[in-house]
Symmetry: C2
Subunit: 312 residues, 2 copies
């Protein structure tokens, strides 16, 4: 089967794609409409972002399955203290009461993004808002890497998982966006459910080796992904066997041998999250297809310096 959405993320001779991670997290609040529009307006029309369902079954765009304290402020203007509420326990209206425009510089997570603009009045977007946005003429070249977050609380709840997939898939179908969106996850069982329900929509296979540390302040995906312990060299074959056309490894897991094997299998390779100049350089040398980054401008600068383009 041919997937135009996968083609949008494929590089080629003198071409490496730039994917805006959660919009452009290094520059603007993550997973915000202002961040998505900025990325698309500045040459990163490929977006990676995260989807979770609220208690009233509204797919919303936020990274963690709980409200992430370092980026969520309540109506008192203060960052969340104590336990982080689960998104699945809140209605959409309740989620919307929080402001995600700033990052708490006192946290280890906040310290990672020293250049991020600090805004007020920024709300968690619904998935539908972003889909509506890319249906506008101005963003007709945009493609989405839509990560379905798998909540470990519902790992055994087949009905819940099926409903999550069907809710998202029906929104994509209603917008005629089947060829512009990848269904992307660390949870390969959830991807299998996607392929069952929507074999015409491309799946995108995230991986992270258990031996590499999680990024600071991020919710770990290790409990819901396949266990790759000792299987590092086999991952491209595992993606291929699962019907994947696009492999999305963690930047510090990527080896020359794995890239060669993936290319042999004709898998696209989109690497996350590549922010440091040395890592960007290594990905350019390895000729991956796409670089997922919090700093799209930085990657563009480095590609331009090497005479490599990022637009098709």
């Amino acid at each position: 089967m041919h997937f135009p959405a996968v083609d949008a993320f494929r590089g080629g001779k003198g071409l490496i794609r730039v994917v805006g991670h959660r919009g452009a997290r290094g520059i603007l609040p993550e997973n915000s409409m202002i961040g998505f529009e900025f990325a698309m307006n500045t040459g990163a029309a490929l977006l990676e972002f995260d989807v979770v369902m609220t208690a009233d079954r509204v797919p919303v765009i936020t990274h963690n399955t709980s409200l992430h304290a370092p980026t969520f402020r309540g109506s008192d203007g203060q960052f969340i203290k104590g336990e982080e509420p689960k998104v699945a326990s809140l209605t959409w209206a309740e989620v919307q009461a929080f402001d995600i425009g700033r990052i708490d510089g006192a946290t280890d997570y906040g310290k990672r993004f020293p250049d991020q603009a600090q805004l007020d009045g920024i709300r968690v977007p619904r998935l539908q808002e972003l889909l509506d946005c890319i249906m506008r003429d101005a963003f007709s070249h945009a493609h989405l890497m839509l990560e379905l977050k798998s909540d470990p609380d519902f790992a055994e709840d087949a009905d819940y998982r099926s409903e999550m997939v069907s809710t998202v898939v029906s929104m994509l179908r209603a917008g005629g966006l089947e060829n512009r969106v990848l269904l992307h996850s660390f949870d390969w069982n959830l991807l299998a459910e996607c392929q069952r329900q929507a074999p015409d929509i491309a799946a995108s296979f995230l991986t992270q080796l258990p031996e590499n540390e999680d990024e600071v302040g991020e919710e770990s995906a290790k409990s819901i992904s396949p266990n790759f312990q000792g299987k590092s060299a086999q991952i491209p074959d595992m993606v291929h066997a699962a019907g994947g056309r696009l492999w999305c490894p963690y930047v510090y897991d990527v080896t020359e041998a794995a890239v060669a094997r993936a290319k042999h299998l004709d898998l696209g390779i989109a690497v996350w999250t590549v922010n440091e100049p040395a890592d960007i350089g290594r990905m350019i040398d390895l000729q991956v297809d796409a670089i997922v980054t919090d700093y799209p401008g930085r990657v563009q600068r480095q590609l331009a310096d090497c005479g490599i383009r990022w637009l098709g």
Copy 2:
């Protein structure tokens, strides 16, 4: 005389203003409409930028009095090679043929901005475009620090200088923008001409000590500014004596004593160009009124971490 435009650049208790330098040069091409709109949309509604006149007397927004080779590409897509054409020798149509969306990473100037998005099809804006933009409701809080570039070739041409000032002033009057724009220059004689023609529009006095080096790849202002050799401690008094209400010193010239003297004289202090975290911290400690920066988000992050706000 009371100048509301100066008030817009004044800080106060727990308040330091953020001014987007040439828009947000660290993030987007300098002196571009996309850069100005980005800055204004992300909490930096105070903009600093540069105005030069074309041969057909169109005020355009660009920093140097010649087309700056590291940021100007011709219709062949290549950065300018050899001698840089003077803006004053080109018509507006000729200037518009160049693309300013990228920066040449092979130059020392280009190396200073490793995160700048690289765009195509970006043109030098006319001053009128930016004035029209801030007359829109969405940008009704914007204020401009409009730097009149003084071309040494015309330093003795009183008619040329008078025409430059009158052209700009009449555009501001036509838009009713007298209280939203500062006329800003290193050339204090040109500021005197501004004050003669438009005593109701605030002047803003740029200074740079001759003993400090120019920023890499920048056109020097030293030949057209007063000579401050040996007068470092007197500059605030000189600004005050010249009728100034706002003093704009170079970041590496600023001393605690000078700041204290300026405050004693009730001068506003807007410091340029403050990009490095240590320098931002020093300006916060000195409680200057405004920080002019290529990285508005970075300054916001650092202000927020100190519990200081930047919006009125």
